[in-house]
């Protein structure tokens, strides 16, 4: 499923709606180039989960934990691990928890990822720096269900 957005705010709105729908133990993969708006998307998701704290880039610490919302949010960014993989990070603990895991640059740790997930790809527009296509691909029935609900919600 593809959604076109024309601003940061629109991206955040979609993410917020998704944040209201996600369920415990879900894994969202967030892909896109540098500056495509991955952290922006994560911020919207956090709002949807009822997290009020500022969601900052997790590039430096690799994982940031937010435990105040409807569900815990584990925001990961494995950008720094390109070409190295994530076998030694102990990410399983997050993936197997009751929280929601969001992984930026997930292609760098493909081997560590569970089979089922929702992949969110942010595609920049060549001509318009504000425009994005948000591509949503579900792997596993629970994620397909979430996407159907998102379509309804998004009208």
């Amino acid at each position: 499923m593809n959604i076109e957005v024309n601003s940061v705010e629109e991206t955040q709105k979609i993410a917020e709606k998704l944040g209201q729908l996600v369920e415990p133990n879900m894994i969202l993969l967030l892909d896109g180039d540098l500056g495509a708006g991955k952290t922006t998307f994560a911020k919207g998701l956090a709002v949807g989960l009822g997290i009020t704290r500022n969601v900052k880039s997790p590039t430096f610490p690799i994982v940031r934990e937010y435990r105040e919302g409807r569900l815990s949010l584990f925001h990961m960014d494995v950008y720094r691990l390109e070409g190295m993989g994530g076998a030694d990070l102990g990410l399983d603990e997050y993936f197997n928890s009751d929280g929601v895991s969001v992984v930026e640059w997930s292609e760098f740790i493909q081997d560590e990822l569970p089979d089922d997930s929702l992949r969110i790809t942010l595609l920049k527009d060549e001509d318009d720096d504000n425009r994005r296509v948000i591509k949503l691909d579900s792997y596993g029935s629970q994620y397909t269900r979430i996407l159907e609900q998102l379509v309804k919600k998004n009208g």
């Binding site: 691990l81 070409g83 190295m84 993989g85 994530g86 076998a87 030694d88 102990g90």
Partner: protein, 239 residues
């Protein structure tokens, strides 16, 4: 000789204080609680119960790996710094050997084993006739390949460790009646046994002592695929 023995290689944590071959006090947990919270208070408590002051310790023995990287580092960093600060002997013992030493059956191969994720294990092969002998070194292996190799030995084999349950179907599938499983209490490592094994080993040099991870970091091994390990500057420099 007053001995402190520590194992934090995996989920179980075990600490013991010995006077030569005699156990004075011990504590073992098998809960999912961070070892960094539990270990130092456990050492303090066990030593207090044993009536041994830190300065009286002659030797510190630590399970050196393989196991969880973080768990190993907590145990080794603690043991190594304690030994350094108290100027006493330091000894490292294989975490797998520790489990094997609990099995006294001399008729069978002993295969201690830890989960290393993605159907890989840390394992080795031991035999215990009068003394414990390591027949196949501790290694990081694909489980199926390892079991297939073991099968060819045509020996009865006893699998020991808290993770064995996880792999039981595969073990039985490949080894059939060749495979045995010990009484459950033998699956949990005991620092008392660690002390008994380590008391007769040669002390190591403290400064260079590190865990036996038995596996390179993924970053390192991928880097080595395209680079030579020689011709580089020192990785760590004191400035």
């Amino acid at each position: 000789m007053k001995i402190l023995a520590i194992d934090t290689s995996n989920i179980p944590l075990s600490v013991a204080v010995l006077e030569d071959k005699t156990l004075l006090a011990t504590m073992t947990t098998n809960i999912k609680k961070n070892h960094s919270i539990t270990l130092m208070p456990a050492i303090a408590d066990v030593m207090k119960l044993a009536g041994v002051k830190p300065a009286e310790l002659d030797r510190i023995i630590v399970a050196q790996g393989p196991g969880s990287f973080t768990g190993l580092r907590i145990g080794v960093a603690t043991a190594k710094t304690l030994a350094f600060a108290l100027d006493c002997e330091l000894v490292g013992v294989s975490s797998l050997e520790l489990l094997a030493a609990g099995i006294s059956d001399d008729k069978t191969d002993i295969v201690p084993l830890f989960d290393a994720r993605r159907n890989h294990v840390f394992s080795g092969l031991y035999r215990n006739s009068n003394e414990l002998i390591n027949e196949l070194p501790d290694q990081h292996r694909d489980l199926v390949a390892w079991l297939t190799e073991l099968k060819e030995r045509n020996q009865s084999q006893i699998f020991v460790g808290t993770d064995v349950d996880l792999f039981k179907p595969q073990i039985i599938d490949i080894l059939g009646e060749q495979a045995y499983f010990p009484a459950p209490f033998l699956n949990v490592p005991q620092a008392f046994i660690l002390g008994l094994i380590g008391k007769d080993k040669e002390p190591v040099e403290q400064e260079t002592f590190i865990p036996n991870y038995l596996r390179l970091t993924q970053a390192e091994s991928q880097w080595l695929e395209t680079h030579s390990d020689k011709d580089h500057n020192t990785y760590v420099e004191k400035i």
